[in-house]
Amino acid sequence: MTRPAPRSIDEYLRQLRESLAGEDPSLIQDALYDAEEYLRAEVAANPGKSEADVLELIASTYGAPDEVAAAYRDTEAKVKAALAPPPPRRDTPASPAVKFFDVFSDWRAYTSLFYMMLTLATGTLYFTFAITGISVSASLAIVIIGIPLLVVFIGMARVMALAEGRLIEAITGERMPRRPVHPGPPAGFMARIGDMLGDPRTWTTLAYFVLMMPIGIVYFVMATSGLAIGIGLIAGPVLEVFRRFGAFGSWPHLTLEPTWLTSPIGFVFCVAAGVLILTVTLHVARGVGRLHARFAKALLVTPGS
């Protein structure tokens, strides 16, 4: 590619963004952030030189936008591959039963299940935050105090979106941004506010926060019902056997409807059903984790980048 060498930091960042077009939006956000840190530090370290003079030497020190883009593409994949433990190799293809129960050895299933239960709390928090922020700053916008409130509110929303992204990456492994949103070229205060309001990501982030309340309730109910029914079905018969040997003193004995369940065969059936439900719950949790990561990325990362 033959492009004129960038003469300013903004131009460099624009070219870097172009070179990374089509990459994971989280990776682009990180790359722009790193480049800006370096370039601004370099300009500050050379007070005698103009920005254009400093940028002239950048291609031989930091690297031209194309080179840096290639580094982010390759290095990240390569270093990740070198650091990650090799995936377990299976010589014979696993039977469907083994595959089905394999979910018990997948940490993502457990973390996703945990996330599903956590969303009741985070969802409520996000929802309250978004609704309060919108209504307070919108109603106060007619007096001047609403404007700074709005700026603080949207700034906090971005930090929360970043934190939610980190949480989702920890839980599902889906790549999410590790740095805050790049603020764009320097501009006046009012222009910044205009950018914030015009950025589609601002609005999709708020939509995500509002939607997290109903979604969190659904996730919580799914996770807790699956766990409670599964564990209950396994634990009931086991505890009943202990009770018959007098482990719990005068506890009343367990009766199940229909009554044939209160028999040795019925107990085996209950435990088997419990194991099945628990396994399905873990599968569902893992699936929900994956889908939710995509949903979060579509609303918190992709728009406007």
């Binding site: 790193d34 840190e37 370096y38 530090a41 020190t61 580094a71 070198a82």
Partner: protein, 119 residues
């Protein structure tokens, strides 16, 4: 000699070496360092043309940090966006010890042939 061939060979070599050098730099200092500072240290240590572009160390730092080999904290800065300061963890030191061993072994092995002490 063709310059692009030399560059390509250097790039192939750098694949894992950048992470090794970064771990070594962070292991040898007691202070936390941020990306730009590390880049400048490497630049000073370099004689002649840089072995790798400074822009390539940032993604490696981030990957090492994600792997738990470095910890980082963010400090606001006057000159630009907040800086991320890195410090090596115990896991990072263990990795460095292991990789240093591999590096010495590889270097000795290659040198034996290049310097012709091996038939």
């Amino acid at each position: 000699m063709d310059d692009s061939q030399a560059k390509k060979f250097q790039k192939e070599l750098n694949g894992g070496l950048v992470s090794l050098v970064l771990l070594a730099v962070l292991a040898r200092t007691d202070e936390d360092l941020y990306g730009y500072e590390i880049a400048k240290r490497l630049q000073r240590a370099n004689e002649g043309e840089a072995l790798f572009k400074e822009g390539t160390i940032y993604p490696v730092l981030r990957a090492l940090s994600a792997g738990g080999y470095l910890t980082s904290r963010i400090v606001p800065s006057y000159s630009g966006p907040p800086r991320r300061y890195y410090r090596i963890t115990d896991e990072g030191r263990a990795l460095l010890a292991q990789w240093s061993g591999i590096w010495r072994q590889t270097r000795n092995f290659v040198d034996r042939f290049i310097e012709g002490t091996e038939p």
